[in-house]
């Protein structure tokens, strides 16, 4: 096992939430579900079904116009209730109403070659669970990664334990991992929390290495492990995928059916009690949380309190629902006071141990923050920004009280780099 980032690196932010009650991992399929584009992406799609039509679970509902082989599939047997597209046929959301007792779509399972495996994943809607770095988003259908990182650890506050998600699916996980390893000739790294090995040593010809992660955030994020072990570069894309999605691939290879549920934790300060459910991808956040809410105004996030975003449906790669009390709008300050103290520049970041640990002590945090704030993209690339995404700086944003706006600065830097260096 390769060493983890650094002994004890990271922080344990305390996000208020009630304790988990109720049966562990109870199945809870919401009556509505939504298919949305991955966060930040604007995907042009071609619809394969119309409003009012019935679809089987796992049946392709839409496909990318630019890459027709990549499909979005129905997360449950349902009737298509509404289709909303932005101008340019960009996917906004496809809303589905559940049909109890509906069918499950069967995908052909011949995936002996890497090309066939790609076709299977793209046709079954599993391609979206892969994420590439640099820049984020799902990889191009024909891209070959220089390395692949599988995350069987998640240290975001109140994240469900991936080991629990894999319970009972160990064989499928090994099968999926062996298949995924054929997509790259580079290293395949499994990041796992301390505990038993999740696969046999000889799997995929012994190419798969294991990296241990500690309990503190951000040790369970893919970005810092990619940065530490196999940094992404413009010509060396690195993919990452959640271990539960690898098990779903294993199940798909064995049965031809897409996994129906994933393990999701519903947590947050606006709840009476917290739950761990098995629910469908794209689940209705209100359906998951309604019976658990405290009275009063609240907001629902798809994702953790650190990196989640307000949403109606569970995001493609999210495994958390966070309910937070809606904060009252800040009182209006006198215009003169605002004019005196709100200069155009954001307040500077002061170097502290908290900031260093928010980056897992993995890189020169202060230098990176200064490079991002000043728009110095070349220095940021030198410091490893190509291995990072918004979720990796979310803890630093939280620690700094939200004043630094690092996630926005990082996205702006990545967009500039993509336009200037990668084209």
């Amino acid at each position: 096992m390769m060493p983890c980032l650094a002994i004890g690196a990271g922080l344990s932010p305390r996000i208020q939430s009630p304790c988990v009650t109720g049966p562990d991992g109870q199945e809870h399929i919401t009556e509505e579900a939504g298919i949305t584009a991955p966060a930040g992406a604007a995907l042009r799609v071609e619809m394969l079904v119309g409003e009012g039509e019935g679809v089987a679970h796992g049946q392709p509902v839409a496909r990318c116009r630019d890459h027709p082989e990549v499909c979005f599939t129905a997360p449950m047997a349902a009737t298509v209730a509404s289709i909303r597209l932005h101008p340019g046929r960009k996917l906004s959301e496809v809303v589905l109403f559940r049909d109890s007792g509906g069918d499950s779509h069967h995908h052909p399972t011949q995936a002996e070659t890497p090309a066939a495996l790609r076709r299977l994943m793209q046709g079954a809607g599993l391609w979206q669970s892969l994420r590439r770095r640099p820049f984020g988003g799902m990889p191009a259908p024909s891209e070959t990664p220089s390395a692949l990182v599988v995350m069987a650890a998640d240290t975001r506050p109140h994240a469900p334990d991936p080991r629990r998600a894999l319970k009972g699916h160990e064989e499928a996980f090994s099968r999926g991992l062996a298949a995924l390893a054929t997509l790259t000739e580079g290293p395949v790294i499994l990041c796992q929390s301390r505990g038993d090995a999740l696969f046999d040593k000889g799997l995929a010809g012994g190419r798969i290495t294991t990296v241990g992660t500690g309990p503190r955030h951000p040790q369970g994020l893919a970005g810092f492990h990619i940065h530490a072990h196999t940094p992404a570069a413009l010509d060396c894309p690195v993919w990452d995928i959640h271990a539960e999605d690898v098990a779903a691939l294993g199940d798909l290879l064995a049965t031809g059916h897409v996994a129906a549920t994933r393990l999701v934790r519903v947590a947050g300060a606006a709840l009476r009690e917290s739950r761990v459910y098995r629910t469908q991808p794209g689940a209705d956040l209100r359906g998951l949380s309604q019976s658990l809410m405290l009275p009063g105004p609240h907001i629902l996030l798809s994702g953790s309190a650190l990196d989640g975003r307000q949403a109606h449906w569970l995001g493609a790669n999210d495994r958390q629902v966070t309910a937070l009390p809606r904060e009252a709008a800040p009182g209006k300050r006198h215009w003169f006071l605002t004019a005196l103290t709100r200069s155009a520049l954001p307040k500077p970041v002061i170097p502290t141990s908290a900031l260093t640990q928010a980056f897992g002590a993995a890189l020169p945090a202060v230098a990176l923050v200064r490079a991002l704030a000043s728009g110095d993209d070349e220095t940021a690339m030198k410091l490893g920004v190509l291995s990072l995404l918004e979720e990796d700086v979310a803890l630093a944003d939280y620690v700094l009280g939200g004043e630094a706006d690092l996630a926005r600065l990082l996205r702006a830097a990545l967009d500039r780099i993509a336009a200037e260096f990668a084209s």
Partner: protein, 260 residues
């Protein structure tokens, strides 16, 4: 979004909490004179912060009070109102406010003030401290390091170098108390000290090395004068240490991983 604590003013508040033991003990022994200097420094520094808030919409910072404390404690004695006002104004404006306020400055404003007063008015004597004030440096450093607002590696680097020099027989005993106070009050400023792990060790070691050098070869200088000069030079060199540390980190990664 739920928010963490460590914005600029929290760090300034934690630094003030760290310096509280030092300030209280110093005020206890220095009495009314010290309190008057502190009030003067606070008023002038606060005035300049107000000017920059009105002129450039730059929010004032509690860090101005920390600089005022350092100046009140370490400034040469018997300077008089005008010289002190001139020095504090020069340090606050040229050392901090014209760069955009605390967090964007490259040199500690108190270090600039003290160097200005030391070089500008060399005839005035530097203060000396009683034993309890010197020992009060320890809780100040402990609080600062424990809360993560003071870089422990800077203190460790300075301690290692001065310890080795003392073991080698250099006459450091008269200089060490002043060096300790300056180290905690000026050199450990999180903004103007180095910001990388290796850079902080080098920053502290460089300060310690300069203190040893001055103690050995600067005849006629007061211990505090040597320590302030060492603080100024080491804070000017801090970006260089950071640059070197980042370059080494980069080279190490290239050697290990083939790319950065």
């Amino acid at each position: 979004m739920t928010k963490g604590l460590w914005d600029r003013e929290t760090v300034a508040t934690m630094l003030m909490a760290a310096y509280a033991p030092l300030a209280i003990v110093w005020l206890w022994f220095d009495g009314v004179d010290g309190a008057a200097r502190l009030v003067l420094a606070l008023v002038i520094s606060g005035g300049w912060h107000l000017v920059f808030m009105l002129a450039r919409a730059q929010p004032p910072s509690l860090a101005g009070a920390i600089s005022a404390l350092a100046v009140a404690m370490l400034a040469p004695e018997e300077l008089g109102l005008i010289r002190l006002t001139l020095g504090i104004s020069f340090g606050a404006v040229m050392g901090e406010l014209i760069f955009g306020g605390w967090g964007r400055n490259v040199v500690n404003p108190a270090t600039v003030t003290l160097s200005f007063l030391g070089f500008g008015f060399p005839a005035f004597g530097w203060p000396e401290f009683v034993q309890p004030v010197i020992w009060a440096v320890l809780p100040a450093a402990a609080i600062g390091v424990a809360t993560g607002v003071m870089p422990a590696a800077v203190i460790a680097g300075a301690a290692v170098v001065t310890g080795l020099a003392a073991a080698a027989g250099l006459p450091l005993v008269p200089v060490l108390p002043a060096a300790g106070i300056v180290l905690v009050l000026l050199v450990c400023d999180p903004v103007t000290s180095a910001a990388t792990a290796l850079g902080r060790w080098l920053n502290g070691a460089f300060f310690g090395g300069l203190v040893c050098l001055f103690a050995y070869g600067w005849d006629g200088a007061a211990p505090l004068q040597m320590a302030v000069a060492a603080a100024l030079l080491s804070s000017l060199a801090a970006p260089l240490f950071d640059e070197a540390a980042i370059e080494m980190w980069h080279l190490r990664r290239r050697r290990r991983l083939g790319r950065s």
